[in-house]
């Protein structure tokens, strides 16, 4: 059973729908005991970091999340869920969970494309993610696969070795993180067509080891 953490951060049903389509049992819940009993955790969400942290703390889910990651449970962060596992976010100047060393930063307002035009913020739409090294959760993806993004802040891990997927939007940013039993993506695999569903299916079969 996969536990999808419900912390009032947007509509979490799309991740559950994608898992249903893949035939994987899951439950969307804020109940720590039920989540404890799940063998894997998905931590999704859209919205603002500050409010997300308030909701997590009010339910005691902040410490639980740290415990689950520390215990070796395979855990997948998505979008806001990925941002909140960092030490802090420039969004609302929020102190976050501190599971990943580093911070979440706002795309600069004067970001330009190669033609010199200002880039739109949010970074909204489909973009490529380059995976320089292999990982079981990111295997069997077509080369040049694109994923759906919608965000104004991007993850900046203090140690680049935590980054496993990189994307170019005026600057090169970390779109996917992998460390031991933790993987986290800034894009939405549940809204990225077949390549996104492949990542979710890979995660559902993954034992939590980074090594090949």
């Amino acid at each position: 059973m996969i536990g999808i953490i419900d912390y009032k951060a947007g509509n979490l049903t799309s991740v559950a729908r994608a898992l249903h389509y893949l035939g994987v049992p899951c439950e969307v819940t804020d109940n720590p005991e039920i989540l404890d009993s799940c063998d894997r955790i998905i931590f999704p969400g859209v919205g603002a970091a500050g409010e997300a942290m308030i909701n997590l703390r009010s339910k005691g889910l902040d410490q639980r999340l740290r415990d689950w990651v520390a215990s070796g449970k395979p855990t997948l962060g998505i979008c806001l869920g990925t941002q909140v596992i960092f030490e802090r976010s420039e969004e609302n100047d929020a102190v976050c969970l501190g599971i990943v060393p580093g911070s979440v930063q706002r795309f600069p307002g004067d970001l330009k494309d190669r033609g010199g035009r200002f880039l739109k913020i949010p970074h909204m739409g489909w973009n490529q993610v380059e995976f320089p090294r292999a990982h079981p959760v990111f295997k069997d993806l077509p080369s040049g696969a694109e994923f759906y993004f919608v965000h104004s802040y991007y993850p900046a891990p203090a140690d680049e070795r935590w980054g496993i997927g990189w994307t170019d939007y005026g600057l090169r940013f970390c779109a996917a993180i992998a460390h031991e039993n933790l993987v986290a993506v800034q894009f939405h695999p549940e809204k990225s067509g077949a390549p996104g569903l492949q990542i979710l299916a890979n995660f559902c079969r993954w034992g939590g080891q980074d090594a090949q």
Partner: protein, 259 residues
């Protein structure tokens, strides 16, 4: 580098797909869930649904369509038409849509944009704008006026100013529809699209007028649109989305080719 998006638009009435030509003479051309599945498989980057149903009991039919679409396709989709309150937005989002589009309702009650953005995030709120070219006058300095109710009512609002106001109120995206071009299949309103897209910092979807692949190329390049809405060109099987994307790729436009 971000890809330009190709977005089929499905008009839905009483749970059935229609396509209006200049907002008149709508004809039924099928099941919206099946159409969504077909476009998903053809490589659509997103899908837009407009509910053109008026009666309130038919709104539940639309929510059922949204739920079935959400179980069938795994790309973003938005729903617009008749959304008057945060509660209307919530129902559509809980049914599985990523984004809600507000149009006439936002003109009448601009606070709806802020309320939606606050409740669901800016990325959820698309400001739909129906625009007609008019003579330049003091209250319409751009020469483009916002019209509502399918183009029947002129509002006295300038399109460019309204786009900027929508952005500052928290819209995450603009869907810019030219009433003059809509349904003609003679090309997008390039000048309008470039004017708005170059002066707001949120993505702009160009809408109205796509009849040939060249029209998409023009609006994405010269018009500086971030995305192109299409309807008749694919609904009547003149082209598939894959054809259009192959053409655009061949002309140097970055679009998503793997799905």
């Amino acid at each position: 580098m971000l890809s330009k998006r190709i977005i089929p638009c499905l008009d839905v009435r009483d749970g059935k797909l229609t396509k209006g030509i200049k907002f008149k003479g709508n004809i039924d051309i099928g099941d919206p869930v099946e159409a969504a599945r077909e476009y998903y498989e053809q490589g659509a980057d997103e899908i837009v649904f407009y509910d053109i149903t008026a009666s309130s009991d038919a709104r539940n039919i639309m929510l059922d369509v949204v739920r079935r679409v959400a179980e069938t396709i795994f790309i973003p989709f938005s729903v617009g038409g008749g959304i008057r309150s945060v509660e209307d937005m919530r129902a559509v989002i809980l049914a599985g849509a990523e984004k809600i589009s507000v149009n006439s309702e936002a003109v009448k009650n601009p606070a709806l944009i802020e309320e939606g953005a606050k409740a669901f995030g800016n990325q959820c709120v698309v400001l739909g704008m129906d625009v007609k070219k008019v003579a330049i006058r003091p209250e319409i300095p751009s020469g483009y006026e916002i019209v509502i109710h399918g183009g029947r009512i002129f509002t006295g609002r300038d399109a460019l100013q309204w786009a900027k106001e929508g952005e500052s109120r928290g819209a995450g995206e603009i869907c810019l529809n030219s009433i003059d071009a809509d349904g003609t299949q003679e090309g997008y309103e390039i000048e309008l699209t470039r004017l708005v897209s170059s002066q707001v910092r949120i993505p702009v979807i160009a809408s109205g007028g796509a009849g040939k692949p060249e029209h998409l190329l023009d609006v994405l390049n010269e018009g500086q649109a971030d995305a192109a809405l299409i309807a008749s060109i694919v609904h009547y099987r003149t082209h598939t989305i894959q054809d259009l994307k192959t053409y655009l790729t061949g002309h140097g436009v970055k679009v998503r080719m793997q799905w």
